[in-house]
Symmetry: C2
Subunit: 684 residues, 2 copies
C-alpha cells in the first residue's frame, strides 16, 4: 500500500506553500542554538527543551565537511550519519577489484576502519556575536572596497579566534544576508574513518525514482569514527542510541547543518532564479546526466566509477526541478510577493531602513550582465579544481592574511589543503567527460565569438581541449600535488602540466570577474541585506531564524503523515514492505543481503518515517532526537513537497524523511551483522 | 569580422519584441495566398505583387512532407530545398560503407538519383473555404461529441474533394484556432529523389554553436527531383533560377510552409507553455542530447548513425530554449498581456463573442491534469511508431471513414502508409537508447506508483523493457510491416512481435486519454477559438494572418541587417569568409571540398544573407523570391532573435537567414561540380 507523487500533484499543493505573513508558523524554522524559540515551542507543544538539553545536544552534533550532518553516538568517537554521506568514501576506497559502494563495508576491527579522503568532523564549541566589529570595518564603504574590508576583518577575527588550527576551526558566518555576523568556533577532527555501511542497493532502494518520495524503503545509514593521533577520540558528549519505533505525534528535533535556503530573497532575486539561474542549471545538468548515464552503460567499470557522480547529479537535478516548479507556480510566487509587500508596508517611513529592495534590484540587474562568464569561467573537472586550488593558493599565500580571498585565509587553508592533498581516485574518462561537457556548455551560453569563450577554448574544440588537458595532467597523483603545493608559485609557474597552465591562464580573468561581481553585486547586497534584516527585526521582533548557511541549526516538529491528493500518507514503512515493493529489477531490486536474510528479518520493524521538521540539503545525516534527547533516527531526505522549501515552508505537506534507529539496529543484528557495534551503541 | 550573439543579449532585445497593438506591423505576417495584404504592402513598399504574380509563385511552391518547404526550379521537376531537409534521405541511403551525409552526393545521371524514404512533394492547386460546412456540423455540440462531428465532416469533405488519392491530396486546415476551415487541394508527387547535396560539413559549418546565429557560412542547399511513373515530372510552373547577390534594402518574399506558431495564444495557454510544457521538454530533451552525444563518441558507426537524430534534437532544443527565454522575460509577456487586454476591451459588451478567454482558461486547467499521461504514453522509438501505426491503422480501417481518427481517414491513409512502408534503416542501438530514455522519463514524471507508469513498465525496468522490445522486434524489416499491414487486425493480434504486443497493450489507454483530452480541451478550444477569431476580425478587420499550420504562406520583407548590442550586423557573408572563420577543429573545420578548391573559389561571392521576412520552422527550404519573381536564395534558419517569434514578431531584430543562389551556383560550378544541373538551372 505505497503511494508516491507524480509532479502533477505539486502545483496545487504549492499554492498553499508559502506564508503570507512573515513570522514563522508551526514547525517552521531552522533555528540557531543561540536563539532557540522556547516560548513559541512551549506555546505549540506545551513543552520546550531547557538550556542544559540544548547544550548537551549541541555538543553531540557533528558537521561533516563533505556537506552532511551527523552526531556522536558513543563515547569512542562513533558517528551516525547517512549512507549517501559516506558514498564517496566507499567509492574512493574501492580499489583492486573491491567495490565497497556496491557491497557495503563492515570493519570487524578498529584497524580495518577506512580513512575517508577530504572528510572532516566538526563540533561547535562557541558562538560569538561579532556583528559590531564587522559592520564597523565596513563603515560607509561601498562595492568591492566594502567586500575587501569585510573579508579582511573576518580573516582577522578568525585568525585571532583559533590559534591552534590543528584542532580548532574558526568561521565567521553571515546571517540574515548581512544582518548579523557570528563567529562559530569548532573542535575539529580531520581524520574520519568508515566503520559500517550497508550495500548501496539497501541504502538507495528505489533509486532516483523514489528519491524525494515517501513511503520509502531505504537503509540510508552508516557509521564513521573520529580519530586523532591515530586513535579514536573520546566523546563523553554524545547522544544515547535508542532503537525504538517513533510514535505518531511525538515531538522530534532535527539537529544539523541545513546548507542553504533563499527564504529572504527579494522579488528581483527570485526573478533571477526563475528566469536565469534555474533554466540554465536544469538544461545543462540534464545533458550531463544523459552523458553520464550512457557512459555508465558502456562497461561495468564505467558503471561503478560513474555512480557517485550520477547520484549527485540526479539528486541535485531533482531539487532544481522542484524549485523551478515552485517558482513557475503563480500562487507560490504571489505569496512571496505578499510577504515582501507586508514587510515594505511595515517599514514605510523608516528612514534608517530606506529602500534596500531597490538596491537589491539594481545589484541583481548588474549581476545578470556578469552571470554567464562568472558561471562558466571555472570549468567542471576534478583535475581542474586541483589546478585552480594550487594556482590560487600559491598566489594568495604570498599575500598578508587580511588581503587573501576567503578560501585561502589562515583559518580556511587547513581544510583547503586537506581536500587538495588527500588521496582520492580520479577516473580520467569521467573527468574528461565532465570537462568536455562543461566547455561545450560554456561555448553554447557565451557564444562562439565571445571573448571569454575564446579564452576558454582558443582554437581547440571542447572535445580536443578536454582530452589534451586531462590526459596530459599528472594532478591525479597526490605526490605531484604535494610537490606543487610545497614549491609555491615558482613551482606552479614552472610546471608544464597542461591543467596547471590552463588554470594559470584563466585566473586573471576569473579575478577580474570576481572584482566586478563584488563591486556591483556582493558589496551592495551586503549593505542591503543588513537593512532588510533591520527591517525584519523592527517589524517582527527578534524571534526569527536566518536563512540556512551550512551551520548548526535545530528544528522542532513531530512525527506526522500528510494528505496527498486526498489520501492520507502513513507516518512510517516497515522492513517487510521492502519485499512487497520489490520488482526484481533495478532500482527496485532487493539488496542481496536483504534477500539472503529475508526469513530472519522482522518484517514489522519500522523502517523509514516522516516528521514535520523543517530541513533542507545539508541536513542529511542529522540525528532525529526525541524529548528525552535520545536519537531515534537519521534524517536523509525530504518529501517531494519539501523541494519548494528553499523559498518557503508549508507544515501541512512539507516532510522530513528519516531512517529509524530501529531499522538500523535490525540491520546491525541480522542483515549486516556487526556485534561489536551493537555493543558499543548499547553503551556496553 | 564575424559577430555572434550570446544569449545574455536576448533578454534586453526581447523587451521590445512583441507588439502592444494587435495589427501586423511592418514585415510581420505569414499570409495565406487567398488573403495577401496588397494594400498594406503597397503602403509600406510602394509596390505589391498582382494576382498573376501570386498565382505563378503559388504553383511553383512545394511542400515536403518531411517537414520542409521547397520550390520547383526547372521544367523537369527539379526542386530546390535545404541540405538539412534531405539529411535524412542521405542518411537513409547510406549503406555498405557509404556515407552520403558526410561525403555529399552528386547524381551524374538521372538514373543515379536516390529515392528519399517517406518523402512526398505537394503543390497547392486550390483553396476552398469550408468554414460554413464545418461549423454547421459542429452546431451546438460540446466536448468530444463536437470534435467527433467536426472530424467526421472534415473526413467527408476531404474524401469528396480528392477522389484520386494517387495524385491528389485534400486537407482541411483549421485557421485562427477554429475561426476558419479551409480545404487545401494538392497535386502530390510521392516519388522524390535526391539529385545533389554538398558535404554535411559545408552545410552545417559551425554546427550547433552557429545554429540560429549570423553571420553564417553555410551551404544549406540541395536539389531533389519529383518523379511519377519512374520519370521526372514536367513542371512548366517553376521559378526562374537567378544566381545573383542580393541588394541591401530590396524587397524579398519567402514562400513556404511555416510549421506552427502560437501568436494567438491566450494568457492561460502561454502560462501552460512557460510553466509546464517547456520545462519538461527542455529537461528531458537535454538529457537525450547528452545520451546521444556520448553514444556517438563510442565508435565511428555510432557517430555516423546518431548524427541525424542529434542534429534534430539540438535544433529543436535551441528553439525551446529560445522560447523559454522569451516567456521568462517579464517585458515580453507583459506585451502579450497588453495585446490580450486590448482585444478584450474592444470585445467588451459583444454578446456574440462572450468570454472565450474564460473558456480557454478552464480548458487549459483541465488539460494540465491530463498532460503528463497524454504526453508520456506514446514512447519515443522508430520501431514503436511503426507498431503504433500498424495497430491504429488496423483498428481504424475497420471503421467507416467518418468515424476514424484524423491520421487514418481515406485522405490521410496514403501518406501514413507510405511513411510506414518506405524502406529506411533502423539502428537498434539508437532506437533502444531513445526508448529507454523515453520510458525512464515517463516514470520520472508520472511517478513510480502511477497507474500509467505501471502500464508502461510492468515490473520491468526501462532498460530491460527497451532492450526486450527493440531486440525482439522484426519491424525494421519493411516486408514484415507490409505483411502486417496487409493482414489487418487479425495478423496484428496474432503477431508475436513484442513491439506490436506492446502497442496493442497501450492503445486502449491512449484512446481513453485522447477521448478525455477531446472532451475537456480540444472540444472547448474549438469553440473558443472560433469566438476569439470573431473577436479579432470584429476589432481589426480581415487583414489578419492566422497562426502557422504547415500550410502555404507568403511573407514579404527586405534584405536588411540589424543592430545587435550596439553593433550593426551586415546583410551578408562571403564564401571567402569561411576560411577566416575556420579553426581547423569541428564544427569549425572547413569541408574537404572547400579546402581542396580554396584557390578556385571566388572569395567575394555572397554566401548567406539576412532578410526581415517573418518565418519559422517548416519554412526551411523556402524559396526567397525577388520582385521579378525569380529565386535568389533558400531560407534555412532564423537569427537568435527569431526564437521568440513563436509568440511574437519584432521586425527590428527578427531575421530570416538565407543561402544565396550565387553561392549555390559557385558550388555547382567549382566545389561540387554538377555541369548538367548548371545547365538545367540555366534553362538550357
Amino acid at each position: 500500500m505505497t503511494r508516491f507523487l507524480s509532479l502533477s500533484a505539486v502545483s496545487a499543493l504549492a499554492l498553499a506553500a508559502v506564508l503570507p505573513a512573515s513570522q514563522a508558523r508551526a514547525d517552521e524554522g531552522m533555528w540557531t542554538f543561540d536563539n532557540f524559540p522556547e516560548e513559541l515551542m512551549e506555546k505549540e507543544y506545551g513543552w520546550a527543551p531547557d538550556q542544559a538539553w540544548l547544550d548537551r545536544v549541541q555538543a553531540s552534533a557533528v558537521r561533516l565537511t563533505g556537506g552532511c550532518s551527523a552526531s556522536f553516538v558513543s563515547d569512542a568517537g562513533l558517528i551516525l550519519t547517512n549512507h549517501h554521506c559516506v558514498a564517496s568514501c566507499l567509492f574512493d576506497n574501492s580499489k583492486d577489484g573491491q567495490d565497497y559502494l556496491n557491497d557495503g563495508y563492515i570493519a570487524d576491527k578498529r584497524d580495518l576502519e577506512l580513512k575517508c579522503p577530504g572528510q572532516q568532523a566538526e563540533v561547535v564549541t562557541k558562538i560569538t556575536d561579532v556583528t559590531g566589529d564587522v559592520k564597523a570595518a565596513m563603515g560607509t564603504l561601498t562595492g568591492e572596497a566594502l567586500t575587501k574590508a569585510r573579508d579582511a576583518k573576518i580573516a582577522d577575527i578568525e585568525s585571532a579566534g583559533c590559534t591552534d588550527t590543528a584542532t580548532t576551526r574558526c568561521q565567521v558566518v553571515t546571517l540574515f544576508g548581512g544582518g548579523q555576523y557570528k563567529l562559530y568556533t569548532y573542535r575539529k577532527y580531520s581524520d574520519v574513518r568508515l566503520v559500517w555501511a550497508p550495500e548501496d542497493r539497501a541504502a538507495t532502494f528505489g533509486g532516483d525514482p523514489d528519491n524525494f518520495n515517501f513511503p520509502r524503503y531505504s537503509l540510508d545509514a552508516s557509521f564513521l569514527r573520529a580519530y586523532e593521533n591515530g586513535k579514536p577520540v573520546k566523546t563523553p558528549n554524545h547522544l544515547k542510541w535508542n532503537p525504538r519505533a517513533p510514535k505518531e505525534g511525538e515531538v522530534t528535533f532535527v539537529v544539523g547543518n541545513p546548507g542553504s535556503t533563499s527564504r529572504l530573497y527579494t522579488s528581483s532575486q527570485i526573478a533571477f532564479e526563475r528566469e536565469v539561474r534555474l533554466p540554465i542549471t536544469i538544461a545543462t545538468m540534464s545533458e550531463l546526466r544523459g552523458r553520464v548515464i550512457r557512459a555508465m552503460e558502456e562497461s561495468p567499470e564505467h558503471a561503478r566509477e560513474g555512480l557517485d557522480l550520477l547520484n549527485g547529479i540526479e539528486n541535485s537535478l531533482k531539487v532544481y526541478l522542484g524549485r523551478q516548479k515552485a517558482l513557475n507556480d503563480p500562487g507560490f510566487t504571489a505569496a512571496l510577493v505578499a510577504k515582501e509587500d507586508e514587510l515594505k508596508a511595515k517599514s514605510a517611513g523608516n528612514a534608517a531602513i530606506g529602500d534596500p529592495w531597490a538596491s537589491v534590484d539594481e545589484a541583481t540587474t548588474a549581476y545578470r550582465a556578469l552571470y554567464l562568464p562568472y558561471r562558466f569561467l571555472s570549468p567542471s573537472s576534478d583535475l581542474f579544481s586541483y589546478a585552480e586550488t594550487l594556482v590560487y593558493a600559491a598566489q594568495e599565500r604570498a599575500k598578508p592574511n587580511a588581503e587573501r580571498l576567503p578560501g585561502y585565509t589562515d583559518s580556511a587553508l587547513p581544510l583547503t589543503k586537506k581536500r587538495l592533498l588527500d588521496e582520492a581516485p580520479v577516473y580520467n574518462w569521467l573527468d574528461e567527460l565532465r570537462l568536455e561537457w562543461s566547455l561545450s556548455k560554456a561555448r553554447e551560453y557565451l557564444g562562439v565569438d565571445d571573448a571569454d569563450s575564446k579564452l576558454l577554448l582558443g582554437k581547440e574544440s571542447p572535445e580536443q581541449l578536454a582530452k589534451r588537458l586531462v590526459e596530459g595532467s599528472k594532478l591525479a597523483d597526490p605526490a605531484y600535488r604535494q610537490q606543487l603545493w610545497d614549491g609555491g608559485l615558482a613551482a606552479i609557474e614552472a610546471s608544464d602540466d597542461p591543467m596547471i597552465q590552463y588554470a594559470l591562464k584563466l585566473a586573471p580573468r576569473q579575478r577580474e570577474l570576481q572584482k566586478q561581481v563584488d563591486e556591483v553585486y556582493s558589496g551592495p547586497l551586503a549593505v542591503a541585506g543588513g537593512k532588510l534584516a533591520d527591517a525584519r527585526f523592527a517589524a517582527y521582533g527578534d524571534t526569527l531564524y536566518p536563512d540556512a548557511t551550512f551551520t548548526l541549526r535545530i528544528s522542532y516538529g513531530k512525527v506526522e503523515g500528510w494528505v496527498e491528493r486526498g489520501q492520507q500518507v502513513p507516518i512510517a514503512t516497515t522492513l517487510g514492505g521492502t519485499f512487497d515493493r520489490a520488482t526484481g529489477n533495478p532500482p527496485f531490486d532487493v539488496a542481496p543481503a536483504f534477500a539472503a536474510n529475508k526469513d530472519k528479518i522482522d518484517p514489522a520493524v519500522t523502517y523509514d518515517f516522516v516528521t514535520t521538521n523543517d530541513i533542507i540539503g545539508g541536513n542529511s545525516g542529522s540525528p532525529v532526537i526525541d524529548k528525552a534527547g535520545t536519537v531515534i533516527g537519521a534524517a536523509f531526505d525530504g518529501n517531494i513537497n519539501s523541494l519548494g522549501g528553499n523559498y518557503g515552508y508549508d507544515g501541512s505537506v512539507n516532510r522530513t524523511v528519516v531512517v529509524s534507529t530501529a531499522a538500523v539496529q535490525e540491520a546491525l543484528e541480522t542483515i549486516y551483522p556487526a556485534p561489536a557495534l551493537v555493543k558499543e551503541l548499547a553503551g556496553k
